[in-house]
Amino acid sequence: MKPAAFDYACPDNLDEALALLADRGDRARVCAGGQSLGAMMNMRLATPDVLIDIAGLRELQAIAVVDGAIEVGAAVTQDALLRWPELVVRQPLLARMLPWIGHYQTRQRGTVCGSLAHADPSSELPLALALLRGEVVLRSQRGRRVVAAADFQTGMMATATADDEMIVAARFPVAQAGTASAFHEVAQRHGDFAIVAVAAVGDKHAIRLGVGGVADMPGVIDLTWPVADAALNDFAWALGGADDQHATARYRRELVRRIGRRVIEEVGDALS
């Protein structure tokens, strides 16, 4: 299990990285933490010609609150965000979800934006981004664009990022006063990919529920209080999961109904 040969590029600044990306297109792969990409390269499932390592780029190291959102640079590790002192106040849902990503050791290399770029259907961060209606900031030599979460992930391990583009930051909206959130995940073991992960954020009027692990990408639905079982059930069906060796589609739907209910109740309790 050894990677195929590749060129390794360690650009000194973002412009160099973008120039290289423009030049090499889909034969280049941006790598920040490499916790998913590295494993796939070792198995030769991914065989890029050139690996562009952005972990050291100064421009991408920041966590800051900008225009009501927590803007997380593309080189920020999951662990660094988890240790950010303001996180629990600014966005408690993220603080709850981050410890579920992989393990202590992988969170110290794996980045927030890398997880979004990888777009694994069972990952926590794509679910958080979709649920919170965050945004992804993409850069290329052609310019900068901000893509809403709903438009960013287009399928399983597929995103709207063009071949010459890379994520430079992710934007997670700061939690609003009067809202509450909750999160539950069911995995086979601690740290495994979610069989079902359910997150919710709500206020007095409505609640938004997001589910990961079931379909090709996170599913999100807006519901109003009180949430009827039928609505939750329809959502569970609409996600359209399939059987795999770890869980049946039926079990996943059941979890969406049951864990979904737990999460909804938790948000309700927190609001009252």
Partner: protein, 968 residues
């Protein structure tokens, strides 16, 4: 005492196989493995691989076969297995070719350039179906390669007259102990002496040395097999390195250089070895009081693609103790061993145990329910009585010692069963799902080398000659400085051999254990060994430590003669203590131990007659109780039998069906404990693996033969979060048959824990459980009633049906049906529609071959795709048959496409059936369905674009995505 092994390990200075020096000109091997569960090898093209940089050789099965013979097997059948597949592959991961290159990276580069032309054959995956399915091996009569019936007592009579009869069918799954260190082999060949020198992290049994030497076509003394001083776990598994010892030996011979191979995790999980999966129909006959009168086992054992040595040992290892811890006079056993398209099986901690105790202890719960008895009471009534020890079971085991009833009652009181029952009652009163389970197990250790011959009829055994015993050997020596060292022919994998042997020998000489040096490397050319040597069947404490004790005692006798002369006392008055030898009754008359010992080296003429020169003793120890099977097929399959009684309380989450172990108590009677700390360490390790087998672990296969557990994210070994606190209790009934009274104890919880947890979960849920592992999803499927339907009509989700992934969908193409049809029938246009198509050649009428790059996200691979269009009904319908093959794996499928006109354009509807196997399926099982859909989506996206001349409107594209279920 603390382990003497630890400081070296903790500093990172221990030398495991891959840490040993390799000759500077050694080259590195990598294996090309079958992506198919079953297929004919039509051609292997290695030319491109051979031309790659750093590549020294590419060896195919045919070349290997010229230098080796098939492995000898315990069952004489015409189903030859070589270290590489020759003309057929029979399981995913079977080695097909071997690359030798300057380093592993270059070797793996070359693997991708080897092209194998396979003709896929229908895989046989289910052992029950395998019985009547098309045979895997042309030379055999069928897939059942071994079948035998056994009768002890009068089972038919007992069943006919019994008050109660219970019966159930149980399925034990495939799993593995997955040591953290994978296999490693370093091989060299000397053409001058026509001899192999091979280092491997092999663990025995050394019966396999004969198998390897024969396969390499040399006498045993031309295969020098060495094992390293440290091994990163085995639990039986490293027995299965032996085919690679042969492969690497042949490779060294062909390339004329030393060769090295280190197995990687994907290879290990896919193709190293496995426990057997077994289907057992077990019947029990009971009298009105709940005494078991008879058992009837119908066992169907799945050994995978070949009966690789030592199989079919799994099904015979327990033969003598098939009645468990119970006094049961009448027993019938029907054994069948089948081959299927799965990895060959082999040694595994608990070997054969969980396969019998899962049915037996599950069925006892069922019997208790039927009789209205407490399950514990039913077990209590059937235990082998203490005054019957040593007790001969119906099938021939001699249960050596134990007070089963006392051990059980001690556990009940000291383990707090009453409190646990109160906790269950309280939990149930609150409506929680809480259950208690029990398991009673007899744990055999020190395998009789003759047990496997139980598979032969008495007449066949007569012809082949008796096989018996469990010969162990150890050497203890004083060097000229008077220091002592011990060497044994057991290869440790973490059990603390050095610590225990140092203790045992130090005790004999009254010295500090730290002064004893223990060598645990082994070299068949230099060290004493026997066919029973190795580290398996929990033989260390009983046999190996015992042999060391015997050798030390023999040496002490001689040393006492020397010292007696120096101390001027009779030899029987020589005593040992504090590193000195002294006269009993007069401790002042003493000598340093080393001085007398050194005398044997420095002044051999001065030592008394009978002491012999040079103080080195090699002892061979055997058990007279381990005779070959008798004419009635009774076999004392093991030398000692420990007793285990487990109980546990579990709670099942009513929403997620996660099983939480609330309390687990395990009582062991393994005879005399040599080192309680190490003993508990073995129990905890076995328990963790047993828990994994109960709840998480499975080497799973898709019905199409694709292997699905290629990574440690798919094969789920428990982490620290899954292992609960464990209460360990000990009883000590010394074995009368081993020198130290010790028995093995490392495997017991692999036998008891899976069924104990299953019994508790069954109690909690009120449901029969007949298979493992008890994953959350499986428990949910068992418990959930009818599912509420959606109020919105559903598009059927893709499903795994029979042998394949199935799905359907449709899309609107903005063009008339005849244009869409024209694209599908036009090679050039089709080339533009097939995702990632580089080149398309016409191979026949409406048949094409294409070079494509397929993938999703960063996952991309080159494939050769074949496409044929059939059943043409222009412009309405056609059938598409095709496949793709490349280094990442293979897929085969067919689809039916129908075209119909709509106001927006042509509706293209399709159904498909795809099978995917090889690497992508092994490591990405949870995404295969999504990936298949994504690729089909790519195809139609391009079809839309092609039909609409590249300007499909965004509205149409969005609608397409919606249809495909890829956008909401």
């Amino acid at each position: 005492m603390q382990r003497v092994e630890d400081p070296t390990l903790l500093r990172g200075l221990a030398r495991f196989a891959d840490d040993l020096p390799t000759p500077p000109h050694a080259c590195h091997a990598a294996f090309l493995r079958s992506p198919l569960a079953h297929g004919e090898i039509r051609a292997v093209d290695t030319a491109a691989a051979k031309a790659m940089p750093g590549v020294l050789a590419v060896i195919t099965g045919a070349e290997l076969a010229a230098h080796s013979t098939p492995f000898i097997t315990g069952v004489k059948v015409d189903a030859p297995q070589y270290a590489l597949a020759i003309d057929r592959v029979r399981y995913v991961g079977e080695p097909v070719a071997m690359v030798l290159a300057q380093d592993r990276y270059l070797a793996e580069d070359a693997l991708e350039a080897i092209v194998v032309d396979y003709l896929p054959l229908t895989p046989v995956m289910d052992p029950v179906m395998a019985v009547a399915a098309e045979k895997l091996h042309p030379g055999t009569a069928g897939n059942v390669l071994h079948e035998r019936d056994f009768r002890y007592g009068d089972p038919e009579g007992a069943f006919a007259t019994a008050a109660h009869r219970v019966e159930a069918t149980y399925h034990y799954p495939r799993n593995s102990c997955t040591p953290m260190e994978c296999f490693c082999v370093i091989a060299d060949y000397d053409p001058g002496s026509e001899a192999f020198e091979i280092t491997a992290n092999f663990q025995g049994p050394y019966t396999l040395h004969t198998v390897m030497a024969r396969s390499l076509k040399v006498p045993g003394n031309r295969l020098r097999l060495k094992t390293p001083p440290y091994s990163g776990g085995s639990y039986g598994v490293k027995q299965a390195v032996f085919p690679y010892v042969v492969a690497l030996g042949v490779a060294a011979r062909i390339v004329g250089r030393p060769v090295k191979w280190l197995e990687d995790r994907l290879e290990h999980l896919t193709a190293a070895t496995s426990s057997t999966n077994r289907v057992t129909t077990l019947k029990a006959a009971l009298d009105a009081e709940g005494r078991i009168l008879a058992l009837n086992y119908d066992q169907l054992e799945d050994c995978g693609a070949f009966l690789r040595a030592p199989e079919p040992a799994t099904i015979y290892r327990m033969h003598g103790n098939m009645t468990g811890a119970y006094a049961i006079e009448n027993l019938a056993i029907h054994n069948r061993v089948v081959v299927t398209n799965k990895t060959p099986t082999g040694l595994m901690r608990g070997f054969g145990g969980p396969q019998i105790y899962f049915p037996l202890e599950r069925l006892l719960d069922k019997a208790a329910a039927k009789l209205g008895l407490d399950p514990l009471e039913l077990r209590r009534r059937n235990l082998v009585p203490t005054d019957a020890m040593p007790y001969r079971t119906a099938p021939g085991a001699l249960l050596d010692s134990g007070d089963y009833a006392r051990s059980m009652e001690r556990a009940v009181s000291e383990g707090g069963l009453a409190e646990l029952q109160a906790r269950r009652d309280a939990a149930r009163a609150e409506g929680r799902l809480y259950g208690i389970g029990y398991a009673v197990v007899v744990e055999p250790s020190i395998s009789n080398m003759g047990y496997i011959t139980t598979l032969l009829s008495p007449e066949q055994r007569e012809r082949s000659g008796p096989k018996n015993g469990a010969l162990a050997t150890a050497t203890v020596a004083f060097d000229p400085s008077g220091a002592i060292s011990v060497a044994v022919s057991s290869v440790p994998q973490g059990q603390g051999h050095r610590t225990v042997l140092a203790q045992v020998v130090a005790d004999v000489f009254g010295m500090d254990p730290t002064e004893v040096a223990v060598s645990t490397e082994h070299d068949t050319a230099k060290d004493p060994w026997t066919i029973a040597s190795g580290n398996y069947s929990s033989r260390f404490a009983g046999a190996v430590a015992g042999a060391s004790h015997t050798a030390a005692m023999q040496l002490r006798e001689r040393l006492s003669l020397i010292a007696a002369a120096d101390l001027n006392v009779p030899p029987e008055d020589v005593a040992y203590g504090n590193g000195r030898i002294f006269a009993r009754g007069n401790p002042d008359n003493s000598l340093p131990l080393g001085r007398s010992a050194a005398k044997a080296h420095w002044s051999p003429l001065s030592i008394p007659d009978g002491a012999g020169a040079g103080l080195r003793e090699t002892a061979f120890w055997n058990m007279p109780e381990l005779a070959e099977p008798d004419e009635g097929d009774r076999i004392n399959s093991s030398g000692t039998y420990g007793f285990i009684f487990d109980f546990c309380g579990v709670e099942v989450d009513p929403d997620t069906f996660a099983v939480r172990i609330d309390s687990y108590v395990t009582m062991h009677d393994a005879g005399r404990l040599l080192n309680p700390m190490l003993a508990n360490g073995q129990i905890r390790g076995g328990f963790a693996q047993g828990l994994g087998a109960a709840l998480l672990e499975e080497l799973s296969y898709a019905p199409d033969g694709g292997f699905q557990a290629g990574t440690l994210a798919d094969y789920l070994a428990p982490t620290v979060m899954e292992i609960p606190e464990l209460t360990i209790l000990h009883d000590q009934s010394p074995s009368p048959f081993t020198p130290l009274g010790a028995k093995g104890l490392g495997e017991g919880n692999c036998m008891s824990t899976p069924v104990c947890i299953a019994n508790a979960v069954s109690d909690a849920l009120g449901r029969e459980l007949t298979s493992l592992p008890l994953t959350r999803s499986r428990l949910a499927e068992l418990m959930l009633g009818e599912e509420p339907a959606s109020t919105v009509p559903q598009i059927p989700a893709p499903a795994i049906d029979g042998h394949a992934l199935q799905g359907q969908g449709s899309t609107i193409v903005p063009a008339p049906a005849k244009d869409v049809w024209a694209i599908l029938l036009d090679a050039e246009k089709l080339a533009a529609v097939i995702p990632g198509c580089h080149a398309l050649t016409i191979t026949g009428e409406n048949a094409y071959r294409a070079d494509v790059t397929l993938g999703i996200g960063p996952v991309k691979g080159r494939f050769v795709a074949t496409v044929a269009l059939q059943d043409l009904d222009p412009p309405h319908a056609l059938r598409l048959i095709g496949g793709a093959a490349g280094p990442l794996g293979r897929s085969q499928g067919e689809g039916r496409v129908t075209l119909s006109e709509t106001p927006e354009g042509t509706r293209v509807a399709y159904t498909y059936t795809v099978t995917i196997s090889g690497k992508v399926a092994a490591v990405g099982g949870r995404m295969m369905d999504g990936a298949a859909r994504a690729l089909i989506n790519q195809f139609f996206k391009r079809l839309v674009s092609q039909a609409g001349d590249g300007d499909a409107s965004p509205g149409l594209f969005a609608r397409l995505l919606t249809w495909l279920g890829l956008a909401k």
